[in-house]
């Protein structure tokens, strides 16, 4: 569990995060959503320690992060995995070497043990034949999966995903979302996802925090979001008439007035 207490962050006169408090729950996908410039990326960078907040507390399972010593922060970061928006794979290394890297740096395992772990995680993200390929030789969706594999190779307790679906087609996005959800539940980790993809919100948003101009404007789950009366949230998530119609359809589905005929398993099996 990650607790944020009264976080504030400014860049000069510009207040980007304004007194945000929230709880990110273990074993769940905690989504931070909001329009561009709402402060969600800065909030995530504060949580992982890439930015230092001006005030407030970040508590990882009862351990206050901001006031930790450099060595304590280093140790804590080894419990954190992160999937970056652009995947942030090391482009001079192959897929396999990218995943070997954290193992080489932080474990004393034998080469065979490391190879076994690399094969395991690549298998887990359904990438069996990409070991020797370089990041430039694989698709965006595959890069994201390699990024996830690298993030989970050290069995993290916390997984952060910054815009995991950016630049991906809707079907691949679903695959990535489902993968993140499965991994979160399988390893019982605290996953924090920064997104403005409404498909993700509806599919995997166990807990959703809506940011608006640096403030936490709304908090709830994917079950609650479509019923929200918050005008700012509604204007964000149902930005077009099409989405408004989709909302109406979704509400009818949930009320059982129309059938939900989406077959996710079939989509995931044959979609890619």
């Amino acid at each position: 569990m990650i607790e944020l207490k009264n976080l504030k962050k400014s860049f000069g006169e510009n207040v980007v995060i304004n007194d945000v408090s929230a709880v990110m729950e273990t074993g769940k996908c905690n989504l931070i959503i909001g329009a561009s410039g709402s402060g969600k990326t800065v909030l995530m960078k504060c949580i992982v320690g890439l930015f230092t907040p001006d005030s407030g507390e970040i508590v990882y399972d009862e351990q206050e992060f901001i006031r930790m010593t450099t060595e304590e922060k280093k140790a804590m970061r080894q419990k954190i995995g992160m999937l970056f928006q652009g995947s942030a794979l090391f482009d001079s290394m192959t897929v396999e070497q990218n995943i070997f890297f954290p193992l080489d740096m932080f474990t004393n395992s034998t080469r065979a043990e490391k190879q076994k772990r690399v094969d395991e995680v690549l298998d887990r993200v359904k990438l069996k034949d990409a070991h020797k390929k370089f990041p430039a030789e694989i698709s965006g969706g595959m890069k994201k999966r390699v990024g996830i594999a690298r993030a989970i190779v050290l069995n993290p307790k916390y997984l952060f995903c910054d815009e995991p679906n950016s630049g991906l087609d809707p079907q691949t996005s679903l695959v990535i979302d489902k993968l993140i959800k499965e991994i979160t539940e399988e390893y019982n980790i605290t996953t924090v996802i920064n997104t403005h993809d409404m498909n993700s919100v509806m599919e995997i948003g166990d807990k959703i925090i809506y940011m608006y101009k640096g403030d936490k404007e709304w908090e709830g789950s994917n079950k609650e979001i479509i019923f929200s009366k918050n005008e700012k949230l509604n204007s964000f998530i149902f930005a077009s008439e099409f989405l408004q119609d989709a909302k109406d359809m979704r509400m009818l589905e949930m009320k059982g007035k129309i059938d939900n005929d989406r077959d996710m398993d079939d989509l995931l099996k044959n979609g890619l």
Partner: protein, 245 residues
Amino acid sequence: MTFFNHLGRFILMIRGMFSRPENFKMYWKELMHQCAELGIGSMGIIAIISVFIGAVSTVQTAYQLVSPLIPKSTIAQIVRDTIILEFAPTLSCIVLAGVVGSKIASELGNMRVSEQIDALEIMGINTKAYLVAPKILASLIMIPLLVIFAMVLGIWGGRFAGSAANILSGATFDRGLLSGFLAYNVFFALIKAYTFAFIISSVPAYYGYNVEGGALEIGRASTSAVVTSCIMILLADYVLAAILL
């Protein structure tokens, strides 16, 4: 951004490099990789430049020394001292500032922009120690060796050009080479090489590490890094000559 702001951030970057490695073996591997990339990778260009500079020095010195009172072996002495004192350390390092400096700045800049540096930080790795320190250390190891390599090839180039153009024989050149040789000149050249090696690696590393933006900014950082390095090399060249000679 003011000069003092840059200087402060530069000092902080250098200070940030000194920490206990997360895994000594991985740091050693990175150091060796950088030695190969920065050192071995620059040997070709240094060899070409040195041989030609040595050859041109011989031909041009002979062209200027027209007095029959000056022995031909003086050409070798002038070529030797010019190459050892100036051409090998300074000219080689100006070229290396372009070759190595732009490589370091663009590599780190690309890693910054594509969030690879952030990815390493998230893993708990001190990126200044893992990415910047091996580059500076590799430069401090390899660039003085390249300068010695440049001295040898430069003098050989001069000797070869002297014989090929019938300016002076190999034996005359060798006699001039050994006459009035001061070992201190080589020591001075090495001091210059170490100073320039630090400039060539640390200045581009600073520019690359602190890139903000995208591809355009990487290009700008790379250019700024090379220009600043060249100016600093020339400034340091003068200061060292004024102090040590």
